[in-house]
């Protein structure tokens, strides 16, 4: 229902400026994911959008109307807090129903139905009568999500909603959220996460924040394939993209050469030589860490299991089509 626009939005806590002029447009019905290093201002930005925090300067628009001063309750938002912020004295059911009971004209049955639906979806049906303190971390987090989705907002704000869930549940919940989004085409969702997979799979577009500023906005593939800066390149993708400087980069006529671990091949005729310092076997893949005279070891991802003793010398080559080249300023060379 709501398109959100931020124009040069700033936020300072006392003397510390935390959001340093953000321009951003979130389209109606879009699924926007915020990523960025811890402490870069994601939660703060979310809180500014929610109206919980006043913006220090700039303009915030919902559907073209300035809402700088609009109360949170009038913005039609639901929010999942990073710290859960559950009502400690209410049962799970009450926590989830609270917002609904405040809306006029909601009958009890309807509320129960909606709460139970959300609870089923989040697999917390059997905990409806418990108090938050009797729940595990992940269960609490699910209650926080449930509280948001029982409501029927125009904008969903999720602050790392899945961080305490196990992989299976995370995937399941992620898919539920995606379904939810598909079912409500007008509902805008803004989602903060640290999880690469979540960001890549859920997002219509990803907004990379860095130190209170927007670094790049784009679809997941854009960011992955055409990062606008070294920072984005390094931030998107796991393991982190390898940055290779010096002569080796010069050979590719750039200041820094970016190659993702999955775009490196170990082959006898590899153009670079490296010493294995460590291998990590993740089951599906193995990461091999090579010492190649760079600041950081270079990671090579190999499908399946592999075992290289530390000290083994390997030759590797980047897949040329997939390399990223950056100039001194950290901007891509295209």
């Amino acid at each position: 229902m709501a398109a959100i626009e931020l124009r040069n939005v700033r936020k300072a806590f006392g003397m510390v400026e935390v959001i340093k002029g953000v321009d951003l447009e979130v389209r109606k019905g879009e699924f926007m994911v915020f990523v960025g290093p811890s402490g870069c201002g994601k939660s703060t930005l979310l809180r500014l959008i929610s109206g919980l925090e006043d913006i220090t300067s700039g303009e915030m628009l919902f559907d073209g109307k300035v809402v700088n001063a609009l109360a949170p309750s009038k913005r039609g938002i639901a929010m999942v807090f990073q710290s859960y912020a559950l009502y400690p004295h209410m049962t799970v059911y009450e926590n989830m129903a609270f917002g609904l009971t405040l809306e006029k004209g909601k009958d009890k049955e309807e509320i129960r139905r909606r709460v139970e639906k959300a609870a089923d979806m989040l697999q917390i049906r059997q905990y409806l009568d418990r108090l938050p303190k009797q729940l595990s971390g992940g269960q609490r987090q699910r209650v926080a999500i449930g509280r948001a989705i029982t409501r029927d907002p125009k904008v969903f704000l999720f602050d790392e909603p899945l961080s305490n869930l196990d992989a299976a549940l995370r995937v399941a919940t992620r898919i539920e959220i995606a379904k939810l989004h598909e079912g409500m085409h007008d509902t805008t969702m803004i989602y903060v996460t640290h999880d690469q997979v979540e960001a890549m799979t859920l997002a219509d577009r990803i907004c990379v924040l860095r130190d209170g500023l927007v670094e790049q906005v784009g679809t997941p593939m854009e960011l992955y394939e055409k990062p606008d800066s070294l920072f984005v390149a390094g931030f998107i993708g796991s393991p982190k993209m390898n940055f290779i400087a010096g002569d080796k980069a010069a050979a590719f006529s750039c200041a820094t050469l970016g190659v993702r671990g999955e775009h490196m091949e170990i082959r006898p005729d590899g153009i670079w030589e490296g010493t294995v310092i460590h291998t990590e076997n993740l089951g599906a893949d193995t990461y091999v860490y090579l010492e190649m005279g760079q600041e950081e070891p270079v990671v090579v991802r190999i499908e399946g299991a592999a075992e290289y003793a530390s000290g083994t010398v390997l030759r590797v080559s980047p897949i040329e089509a997939k390399v990223h080249r950056f100039n001194e300023a950290g901007k891509p060379v295209r």
């Binding site: 109206g51 006043d54 913006i55 300067s57 001063a69 949170p72 009038k74």
Partner: protein, 326 residues
């Protein structure tokens, strides 16, 4: 009052944007404060102002309407004698008054200090989980629950040198070598009053501190437990800082009460110069003596002294007025 400087209102940069949320909250705040302010203005405003006004007149209780303005006369006035010597009169040079001030301050600080420490101990005990805690809590509140007029008399009875049970007990236990006339002698009168006051009001302190203790999140004690913090250290480093706000209000209100102490002394040692406090003196002048204006001046000065001490306390104790708000 110089409270503006007490950090009450951290200078917030003038915001261009005053959000509706802030406005709504400000509106709610106003709405919420108004009943209280009206209530207080009505119930306290008129009597207080009147009292202060009378302190500048020559009012007497038999003829309040005929009170005439005499300025600061009740506080200080002087007279040049024929010999040229100047004679000062008035409250500010009244040795009885200053004696009472000294008594009061001494009493207040001693009793509140003891009560704070004992109250804390009691609160800590009550905070522990043990069987019969509910009953112990009720039992502990009893001293505070007995009406002062009764408990004061009860104590004067118990403190009696001849048939008082305390002397008897003291002698039996070998704590006293001879019966002591607690309230009679100037040396022990203050001690007696202190004992009774501490006995009576420690529960007040304890209960407030207990409430404060209960509000401390439990999980940080777990963290402390893991950190291997010795219970004593836990108390000083975690409990104390976190109950401090509650402790501070408890102390403030006890201090205010103690500085105005009246009924206890009025019953126990009504006219002993060693325990006569400001309030007792004020009452004497207001009602017993025909010096309503002088008594009003005492009340006013008492108010100023208390205000001064409180401000000093708040400043030294760094009681904060902010925090918690968004």
């Amino acid at each position: 009052m110089a409270t503006e400087t007490l950090g009450a209102t951290a200078v917030v940069p003038k915001r261009k944007i005053v959000s509706e949320l802030t406005q709504q909250r400000a509106r709610a705040a106003r709405l919420f404060l108004i009943p209280m302010l009206i209530a207080l203005a009505i119930v306290a405003g008129w009597p207080l102002l009147r009292s202060i006004y009378f302190s500048f007149t020559d009012a007497s209780l038999t003829n309040l309407a005929g009170a005439e303005w005499i300025g600061f006369g009740n506080y200080l006035r002087w007279q040049v004698l024929d010999s040229g010597a100047v004679r000062y009169r008035g409250l500010l040079v009244d040795p009885n008054w200053w004696n009472a001030v000294w008594n009061t301050v001494r009493f207040a600080f001693t009793s509140v200090a003891f009560e704070a420490v004992l109250g804390m101990i009691v609160a800590l005990v009550l905070n522990a989980e043990f069987k019969g805690r509910g009953i112990v809590r009720a039992a502990i509140l009893i001293p505070w629950a007995i009406p002062t007029i009764v408990s004061a008399r009860m104590w004067s009875w118990m403190l009696n040198d001849q048939f008082g049970i305390l002397n008897d007990l003291g002698m039996r236990l070998g704590l006293l070598s001879q019966k002591v006339a607690w309230t009679a002698s100037a040396d022990t009168a203050m001690t007696a009053v202190l004992i009774v006051d501490i006995w009576k009001t420690t529960p007040f302190m304890a209960l407030l501190i207990l409430a404060g203790l209960q509000m401390i999140p439990k999980d940080i004690y777990e963290a402390a437990e893991i950190d291997g913090v010795h219970p004593v250290k836990q108390f000083f480093k975690i409990t104390l800082p976190l109950v401090r706000p509650a402790l501070m209000v408890a102390i403030i209100f006890r201090l205010l009460d103690a500085l105005r102490i009246f009924d206890l002394i009025y019953v126990l040692t009504p006219n002993s110069a060693a325990t006569k406090t400001m309030s007792v003196l004020a009452r004497e002048n207001l009602f017993d003596f025909d010096k309503f204006a002088y008594g009003s001046a005492m009340s006013t000065l008492l108010f100023l002294i208390i205000a001064l001490l409180t401000i000093l306390y708040i400043w030294l104790g760094r009681v904060r007025f902010d925090g918690g708000d968004r």
